[in-house]
């Protein structure tokens, strides 16, 4: 029989020692898990606005202006500025409006920015899967809005480009070939659809930046980005392009097998803010998805912005009053374990 172990002047039996070890080990295991899931935001705080809109016939421009006001976006910082709105128009199919940012929300954003004194608002996107941009615009309804409002549209898949140093350095590309227009505007506004995603869990304003990569160099789909690593590419692109603002179309989003085949999900919200990770984390929580379980959001923490709820000041509606679970599917590995 072994002799008892002495600890802090007290003799412990073998049984006491094993029990203490088990308690310590369990504590360390759960503590590490807790620590891993509460990433350090480094004191970075951001404000995110949640606005309610039951459908697209509501006064959405007014909602966006209310958002500007509560977020502290002033006319002084927008007067005379050129604003580029980047909706999400990856591909279009008849009867599936939940794929793309709704044209009436785009129209409302145009009106809101012009109303704040912006000199010009233009719309630009490089559809990720479909080469026929005109078809995407027609089916989505944006072609009609552009024509009626005389708004200029730029097809990012074909615009003149310049080489820009990859500011994140995570993927194996020292430079990105990006449309020159991104440097010619004052604000890039990411306008994604609120959707689940079969590779990344969710696609929101950060993932929406994939659309700025010109298809004529990177292809349709822009699969080079997947090949490099989707999460790394999302982080690199956001660090490089640095979008100034996000407006998420969550009035009707997409659940299940997003970003194309999922069903429509009425959620009735518009989520806005200056910081993409904070906006996306809030949108994910509204979808009842844990943003800390979305790899690129977790890695954004304290680097691109805050993700923890206590570091994001929610203004407008409360998450709890608008949150609704977006369907997640067992057959999609990226959906496992992300439910909030």
């Amino acid at each position: 029989m072994s002799s008892p172990v002495e600890l802090f002047g007290r003799k412990l039996s073998r049984r006491d020692f094993i029990t203490a070890g088990a308690v310590l080990g369990t504590g360390m295991y759960f503590g590490k898990n807790w620590w891993d899931n509460i990433p350090n935001d480094h004191g970075w705080r951001e404000r995110v606005f949640i606005g309610k809109a039951a459908d697209y016939d509501r006064p959405l421009a007014r909602l966006i202006r209310d958002g500007f006001k509560t977020l502290g976006v002033t006319s002084a910082e927008l007067i005379g500025k050129r604003i580029l709105l980047k909706p999400n128009l990856v591909e279009s199919h008849e009867g599936r409006p939940q794929i793309s940012t709704h044209p009436l929300l785009v129209r409302a954003a145009i009106e809101a920015f012009l109303g704040m004194g912006a000199a010009e608002v233009l719309v630009a996107e490089g559809p990720g899967h479909e080469r026929d941009t005109m078809r995407v615009l027609q089916l989505n309804g944006l072609a009609g809005v552009l024509r009626e409002d005389r708004i200029r549209y730029f097809d990012l898949n074909y615009l003149e480009t310049c080489s820009v140093t990859n500011a994140g350095g995570l993927v194996k590309a020292a430079k990105f070939e990006l449309p020159r227009i991104l440097q010619a505007v004052d604000w890039v506004v990411s306008m994604p659809k609120m959707k689940t995603h079969h590779w990344m869990g969710v696609t929101l304003s950060m993932k929406n930046m994939f659309g700025v990569m010109p298809g004529c160099y990177y292809g349709w789909p822009k699969n080079v980005l997947h090949h490099w690593g989707i999460a790394d590419a999302i982080l690199d692109l956001n660090l490089t392009v640095k979008p100034q603002f996000s407006i998420v179309d969550g009035i009707v989003g997409m659940e299940g097998d997003g970003p194309i085949l999922g069903g429509a999900k009425a959620c009735g919200v518009v989520v806005m803010g200056r910081n993409a990770p904070a906006v996306d984390a809030t949108a994910a929580r509204i979808m009842k998805i844990n943003p800390h379980r979305i790899s690129y959001l977790k890695r954004s923490t304290g680097w691109l912005g805050p993700v923890s709820e206590h570091m994001i000041q929610q203004v407008g509606e409360k998450i709890s009053t608008v949150a609704t679970p977006f369907q997640l599917l067992d057959r999609i590995p990226a959906h496992h374990g992300i439910r909030l």
Partner: protein, 287 residues
């Protein structure tokens, strides 16, 4: 439409993508491709000058790069070969491009979570991707088949292999998208432009029974689509299989006018429209 395209022609005999833009390889290739079957309406000398301008963008390795030496995307090389196929005087340049193209064939293996639609799909079939660092996809592979057929290499082993790859990427319900069929147990949706292009490429390389569902999808899409690129490729694809394309001039004319109205008409769309109508005796689109 020829007038719109002529307006894109620059002093160096190349074409810009949109009005006022400097000439570049891609729009010049599209313009040359579309104008060569209609040599009666364009001076042969003018076309030769454009062809010569195009060859000046060719790289030492034979490829046509959009960003010289920076990013190796392969699809302009296919257009280059196809566009130059009617100019025997540029055969050496074309042959160098062909050698480069054939060296760029790669495994068609898709993402590991993407399952080929047709049971028994052979993922080792070599075909083409958009760029050097990538898997193979429908559009570049179909363009390569078109280029190989245009240069008399339609019977080559590799053209056959690429054609089989296209058949494998056909959606079980008919049609093609960019090149995935079933992802995580869900069948993806077809797109009209890629369907028309794949059908055009496969004409003479497959039998009608292989593409029956896709022809049905294309015929139905022809009725409802309103965008020039989709209509142009559907027109070429259906016509290549001797299927009717009613009101082609009217439909394409309306589509181009709407596209011009929001400032999106460019060399590719104009060129493809002209090419699509080139089989009609008097095919001409007015906008």
């Amino acid at each position: 439409m020829e007038q719109f395209l002529a307006g894109l022609r620059q002093a160096d005999h190349g074409y810009g993508m949109v009005p006022g833009e400097a000439s570049a390889a891609l729009p010049t290739a599209f313009a040359l491709l579309s104008l060569k079957p209609r040599q009666g309406s364009v001076q042969r000398g003018e076309l030769q000058e454009t062809a010569f301008r195009l060859t000046r963008w060719q790289q030492e390795n034979g490829s046509l790069e959009l960003l010289q030496g920076q990013y190796p995307c392969t699809w302009p090389t296919m257009l280059f070969i196809w566009a130059l196929s009617a100019f025997p005087e540029f055969k050496p340049a074309r042959d160098r491009a062909l050698d480069c193209l054939l060296n760029q064939m790669k495994s068609s293996k898709p993402n590991s979570l993407v399952v080929m639609g047709n049971a028994g799909g052979d993922c080792d079939l070599d075909s083409w991707g958009w760029c050097d660092h990538n898997y193979s996809w429908v559009v570049p592979t179909a363009l390569a088949v078109c280029a190989l057929k245009a240069t008399g290499r339609g019977g080559d082993l590799r053209t056959g292999q690429a054609s089989r790859m296209l058949l494998q990427r056909q959606l079980p319900s008919g049609g093609w998208n960019y090149g995935n069929t079933i992802v995580l147990e869900s069948e993806l949706l077809p797109l009209p432009d890629t369907t028309g292009l794949a059908l055009y490429a496969l004409a003479g390389k497959a039998v009608e029974a292989d593409v029956t569902k896709s022809l049905a999808y294309a015929a139905q899409a022809w009725e409802v689509e309103k965008a020039p690129l989709s209509l142009a490729w559907l027109c070429l694809g259906l016509n290549a299989w001797n299927h009717p394309v009613p009101d082609a001039e009217k439909k394409l004319g309306r589509a181009c006018a709407e596209t011009l109205g929001i400032g999106l008409l460019n060399a590719e769309l104009a060129g493809m429209t002209i090419l699509a109508l080139s089989w009609l005796p008097q095919g001409k689109v007015r906008i």
